[in-house]
C-alpha cells in the first residue's frame, strides 16, 4: 500500500457521514470509512465538520492602490483563516480593474501569495463611471479568465448600459454582479431609512432604492436572456422580487452578507462608524426574511463584502466615515450562529451556499467541488463546538474595522487546505516562508 500525504480522520462530511479523507498531492484520492494505511500527516478531526473550501464571490482586497488597508497577501491570509480557498477581488481598486493589465496583476499577486485562488472581478464600465463599457472581452480572455463583472461600490444605474453589459457578457458565459442602489434616491445616504434614521437624524437609504434596481435588472435579464447576480441583498422586498424572478425562470442569483444576517440598523445609535456599511444594516424584519430566503434557496450564496478601511476612515464622525466592514475571518462563525445553531440550515446547505454555488456562479471550475475522490483538495475543517472571542487587534487583515470586536462567536476553523497544501494548522495561518 502506498503512503499518502495527509489523512483527515473522523470528520463529519457535509452529508453527515463520518469518514476519513485521503489527500495526495493536489487532490483528494479517497474518502473512506476508516483509513488505516500509512500517511505522512494525520489530522485528527473527530467532532469536526469538513466542508469544501469556502469561495467568496465578493471581497475588497484594496490592492492596487490602498495597500495600507489591505493587500492581496494580507487578504489571502485573512481568507485562509476564515476557511476560504478562493476569493473574488472586487474591481474598485486604484487603478480600477477595468483592463486586462490590472486583472492579470491581481491574479498574479494571488498566485504569489499562494494561500488561495484570487479571482479578479472586472469592472463593467470604465473607471466605474457607469458610462462606457470597460474591456470586458480582454479581461475574459486574459490569464485571469474573468467571468464576473461588477462596478460594485457603484450601481450600474443607466438601464441602457446595464442592458448592453448583460448582452455583451453572454459571449463567454459571464455574469454581471449588480450593486443595486439607485443613486438619485441615495445621495449622501448614511443608513437604512426608517424609525432609527428618523431618530438619529442620519440621512436615510430607503429599501426601495435597492428593490427598484433589482426589479429593473431581473426584467432586463429576462429580456436579453442573460445572467445576473445581485450583490448583497438586504431587504425583505428584494427577496420577494428574486423569488418572483426565479419562479419565472430568469437566470438570477443573489447573495447575502454575514453582517446582514445578524446585525440591524439600531446599532447606528452609537454613531460608531464601525456599523456603517453599504448597503446599510436593515431592520429585524429584513434580517429574518434574509435568513429564510437563504435557507429556502431564494438567496443562493453568502458572500462577505469584506471591506477593509484604515483606522482614520472609521475614527471620525459617522457621516465622514467610509462604508464597509471586515468579513473574511468571521463569515463562517456568523453563518453557523445565524443559520446552523438556529436550526434553519444544515452543514450540507452551508457547503452549497458558501462553496459549491459561488464557484458555479463565478465559473471557478477547480473550486467548490464535492469532497470525493478526484476532487481538488480544497477543504476546511471546522470545530463547531468551540467558540472564540473576536479581537480587532488580532485580525490578520491589515485593517481592524470588524463590527464583532469582543463578540463570542461559535465555530473555529481548525484547518484549511488549498490544493492539498495546509494553509491553516490548528487555527493558525502558516507564515509566508513556511509554505
Amino acid at each position: 500500500m502506498n503512503s499518502i500525504d495527509v489523512v483527515i480522520k473522523g470528520a463529519k462530511l457535509p452529508n453527515g457521514t463520518v469518514s476519513d479523507i485521503c489527500i495526495q498531492g493536489e487532490h483528494v484520492v479517497d474518502v473512506v470509512k476508516d483509513y488505516s494505511g500509512p500517511a505522512t500527516h494525520v489530522v485528527e478531526a473527530t467532532g469536526c465538520v469538513v466542508l469544501p473550501g469556502l469561495v467568496d464571490l465578493h471581497t475588497h482586497l484594496r490592492e492596487p492602490g490602498r495597500e495600507d488597508a489591505e493587500t492581496v497577501l494580507s487578504g489571502s491570509q485573512a481568507g485562509a483563516k476564515g476557511g476560504f480557498t478562493a476569493l473574488s477581488a472586487m474591481a474598485n481598486t486604484s487603478p480600477v480593474a477595468d483592463t486586462a493589465g490590472v486583472v492579470e496583476q491581481v491574479y498574479r499577486l494571488g498566485q504569489e501569495a499562494g494561500y488561495l485562488d484570487v479571482f479578479p472581478i472586472g469592472a463593467v464600465t470604465q473607471g466605474l463611471r457607469g458610462e462606457a463599457l470597460s474591456e470586458i472581452g480582454a479581461m475574459a480572455d486574459s490569464v485571469a479568465r474573468v467571468r464576473v463583472f461588477s462596478d460594485d461600490g457603484h450601481c450600474v444605474s443607466d438601464p441602457l448600459v446595464m442592458r448592453r453589459a448583460l448582452e455583451y457578457i453572454k459571449k463567454f458565459d459571464g455574469v454581471v454582479a449588480q450593486h443595486a442602489q439607485d443613486p438619485r434616491m441615495t445621495v449622501d445616504s448614511q443608513m437604512n431609512e426608517g424609525i432609527v434614521s428618523a431618530r438619529l437624524g442620519l440621512k436615510g437609504w430607503p429599501a426601495v432604492a435597492e428593490e427598484a434596481i433589482i426589479a429593473r435588472d431581473v426584467l432586463l435579464t429576462d429580456h436579453v436572456n442573460s445572467r445576473l447576480h445581485i450583490c448583497h441583498l438586504t431587504t425583505a422586498g428584494g427577496v420577494e422580487i428574486i423569488r418572483w424572478a426565479k419562479a419565472r425562470g430568469i437566470d438570477v442569483t443573489a447573495e447575502v452578507t454575514p453582517h446582514h444576517l445578524l446585525l440591524t440598523d439600531d446599532l447606528a445609535g452609537s454613531y460608531d462608524p464601525v456599523y456603517k456599511v453599504n448597503p446599510p444594516l436593515r431592520t429585524e424584519h429584513d434580517v429574518h426574511a434574509l435568513r429564510e430566503a437563504l435557507a429556502d434557496g431564494t438567496i443562493d450564496i453568502v458572500a462577505t463584502d469584506h471591506a477593509p478601511h484604515p483606522l482614520e476612515a472609521k475614527e471620525c464622525e459617522w457621516q465622514e466615515a467610509a462604508f464597509g466592514m471586515l468579513g473574511l475571518e468571521t463569515a463562517l462563525s456568523i453563518v453557523q450562529k445565524t443559520m446552523i445553531d438556529s436550526g434553519m440550515m444544515s452543514w450540507e446547505q452551508v457547503a452549497e451556499r458558501m462553496s459549491l454555488t459561488p464557484a458555479r456562479i463565478g465559473r471557478y471550475a477547480d473550486q467548490g467541488q464535492q469532497l470525493a475522490k478526484g476532487a481538488f483538495a480544497n477543504l476546511v475543517v471546522i470545530n463547531p463546538t468551540k467558540s472564540w472571542r473576536v479581537d480587532r487587534d488580532l485580525v490578520l487583515s491589515n485593517s481592524s474595522n470588524t463590527p464583532y470586536h469582543g463578540h463570542e462567536l461559535p465555530g473555529v476553523v481548525e484547518h484549511t487546505f488549498f490544493k492539498g497544501k495546509q494553509t491553516v494548522i490548528n487555527g493558525e495561518v502558516i507564515s509566508k516562508g513556511a509554505k
Binding site: 428618523a198 437624524g201 430607503p206 452609537s270 454613531y271 459617522w318 457621516q319
Partner: protein, 315 residues
C-alpha cells in the same frame, strides 16, 4: 450628569431640575448680580465647526456670567469641518485642560462621538449636531413656554404645541418633540409630507398636513426655519406655495387661541415661514427666547460642572 448630548437620554427629572436651576439663575442675574464666581478657574471651549453666531454667543455669555474662562474655537472651513481630525482637535482640547466642550457640528452624532471616545475627558455639551438634536434649544424653549403658560408648575402637562415646518432637517424639532412630550405636553407636527421623516410615526407626536385645522387648538405655535435650498431638492414647489400653506401670517394668527404664544428658534426668514407682523406681535416671545437661552445655558454648565471632580474620581 456628565454630558448633555441629547434630550433622548435626559430624564424628566434632570430636565425639570435644569429648568428650575435656570429659573433661579435668571432671578439672580435679573437682580443686581451680573457675574457669579461659580465656575471660576474652569475652562470652557466653544468648538463650533459650523456657523452659528447666536448659539455661540449665548453659551459664551452663560459661561462668562459664571466666571468661566472661555476659548472660542471656530473651526468652520478648517479640517474639523471636514471631519477627519475631530480626534486631533479633541486631543488638543484635552491638552488645553478643557473642563467642558460646547460643540456645534454639521455631522449628526458628533457630540456623542466626542463624549464616547477616549480622546478627551471633559464634559461635552451638544450645541446642535447635524439634523439630530439641539438639546439646549429645546430646554430654553420649554423654559420659555413654562414661564408664560405654566408659571409655578414643574412640567407642561395639559399644553398643546404645534411645531411647524421643516421637521425632516430640524434638530430643534427632534429635541423639542422629545422634551415637550417628556414634560407632558401634546405635540403636533405640521409640515408638508416631504418634510417629515420616514419613521415619524414612531415619535411621541401626532402629524398634520393642515396648519389651519390645527392652529385654533394650540397653546404654542413653534415655527421652524425653512431653508431656501430645500426648493431645489424638490421638497416643495416654491416659496410662495410654502408660505401659503405653512407660513404664519397675521391672518392665520387671528385664529390662534387667547393667550397662546408664537416661538421661533431663529434665525427667521421673515416673509417665508413667518411674517414680520407676527414676529413683532404681542404673541411673539422670540426675543425672550434669546434672553432665556443664557439662563438655561448657565444652568446646563452649572449642572454639568458641579461635582465634576467627584465623577472623574469615581470613574
Amino acid at each position: 450628569m456628565r454630558h448633555l448630548l441629547s434630550i433622548e437620554d435626559l430624564s424628566k427629572s434632570d430636565a425639570v431640575s435644569i429648568l428650575d436651576t435656570a429659573h433661579e439663575l435668571a432671578r439672580v442675574s435679573d437682580g443686581a448680580v451680573k457675574k457669579l464666581p461659580t465656575l471660576r478657574g474652569r475652562t470652557i471651549v466653544n468648538l463650533f465647526a459650523e456657523d452659528s453666531t447666536r448659539t455661540r454667543i449665548s453659551f459664551e455669555a452663560a459661561a462668562k456670567r459664571l466666571s468661566a474662562d472661555v476659548i472660542n474655537f471656530s473651526a468652520k472651513g478648517s479640517s474639523v469641518s471636514k471631519g477627519e481630525s475631530l480626534k486631533d482637535t479633541a486631543m488638543t482640547l484635552q491638552a488645553m485642560g478643557a473642563d467642558a466642550v460646547v460643540i456645534r457640528h454639521s455631522a449628526s452624532g458628533a457630540a456623542q462621538r466626542l463624549a464616547d471616545s477616549q480622546w478627551m475627558s471633559g464634559s461635552v455639551v451638544n450645541a446642535g449636531d447635524g439634523t439630530h438634536e439641539h438639546p439646549s434649544q429645546a430646554l430654553l424653549d420649554a423654559f420659555t413656554i413654562r414661564k408664560h403658560l405654566r408659571a409655578g408648575a414643574h412640567d407642561l402637562e395639559g399644553l398643546t404645541v404645534a411645531i411647524v415646518g421643516d421637521v425632516l432637517h430640524s434638530r430643534v424639532a427632534r429635541s423639542n418633540v422629545l422634551l415637550l412630550s417628556k414634560l407632558g405636553a401634546k405635540v403636533i407636527l405640521v409640515a408638508p409630507p416631504t418634510l417629515l421623516p420616514v419613521g415619524v410615526e414612531s415619535w411621541p407626536a401626532t402629524v398634520s398636513y393642515d396648519f389651519d385645522s390645527v392652529i385654533p387648538f394650540v397653546d404654542v405655535v413653534m415655527m421652524l426655519r425653512v431653508q431656501q435650498e430645500r426648493m431645489s431638492d424638490l421638497y416643495f414647489p416654491n416659496a410662495r406655495e410654502y408660505s401659503r400653506y405653512f407660513g404664519l401670517n397675521a391672518d392665520r394668527m387671528k385664529s390662534m387661541k387667547q393667550g397662546s404664544i408664537v416661538m421661533h428658534p431663529g434665525p427667521m426668514n421673515r416673509g417665508l415661514e413667518i411674517s414680520a407682523e407676527v414676529a413683532d406681535s404681542a404673541r411673539s416671545v422670540i426675543t425672550e427666547q434669546v434672553t432665556n437661552g443664557v439662563s438655561v445655558r448657565m444652568a446646563i454648565l452649572y449642572v454639568l460642572l458641579t461635582g465634576s471632580a467627584l465623577e472623574a474620581g469615581s470613574n
